[in-house]
Amino acid sequence: MLGIRLFLIGIVSASLIGAGAYVFKLRADNAILKANAVKMESAITEQKELITKQKEDFQEILAANAEMNKLVKNLEKDLNELDKRFNKNNRDIGKLAVEKTKLIEKIINKGGENAARCIEIASGSPLTEKEKNATKKSEINPECPSIANPNYITY
């Protein structure tokens, strides 16, 4: 009889201890799950921020590319204008230089000075007030108006 009692007490005690241990384990698991959930939320937030940043970056890159394309087109236009100045209406600069040597020499020297200034601007030299305010054809640097005279509009 005593043996049966002890056996039953043992079973009940073991059950209580087991239940207690299980509850502790559940609590511990719950804490881990909560911590994981917090980490997941944090990771999701970071991912969302990263995606937003990437979208912004992409827009910035598109805008920068558009600006760059515009610049390249304008520079190409300046180059074409130079070609036109040499060859407009079948102009022969050599023949003109023979006929009007001093005049062409003066024009070439002025053009050389302007072209040198264009290099300075292209290398980062700031524009002068005169260059910034030039709006008339007579005021501009005809070698590179697109970079030297931002307020000049070609008609």
Partner: protein, 89 residues
């Protein structure tokens, strides 16, 4: 990062020499104490030189503009926050 110092170009004087004025040009050079020698280009080569110059200028402008854009991208946040975190990925 500091940008490279802008160039300061030297002034070059072009002399046009033809069969008619050659003697005069050399005499004037001697008179001015210069060596009577010129490094010549034909009119066509002069045009090519001008175009090459313009192409170099364009390339320089594009490279410089690109540098500005990179600076703006990588350094804009530094000015705002005083650190280097935003675009350092």
């Amino acid at each position: 990062m500091e940008k490279p110092t802008p160039l300061e170009m030297e002034k070059i004087h072009w002399i046009i020499i033809t069969s008619d004025n050659a003697d005069q040009v050399f005499a004037k050079m001697k008179e001015d104490g210069m060596d009577p020698v010129l490094f010549g280009l034909t009119d066509n080569d002069f045009q090519l030189l001008a175009k090459n110059f313009a192409r170099i200028r364009n390339q320089l402008m594009i490279t410089n503009d690109m540098l500005d854009k990179y600076k703006e991208y990588y350094e804009a946040s530094d000015n705002e926050t005083g650190n280097n975190t935003k675009n350092s990925k």
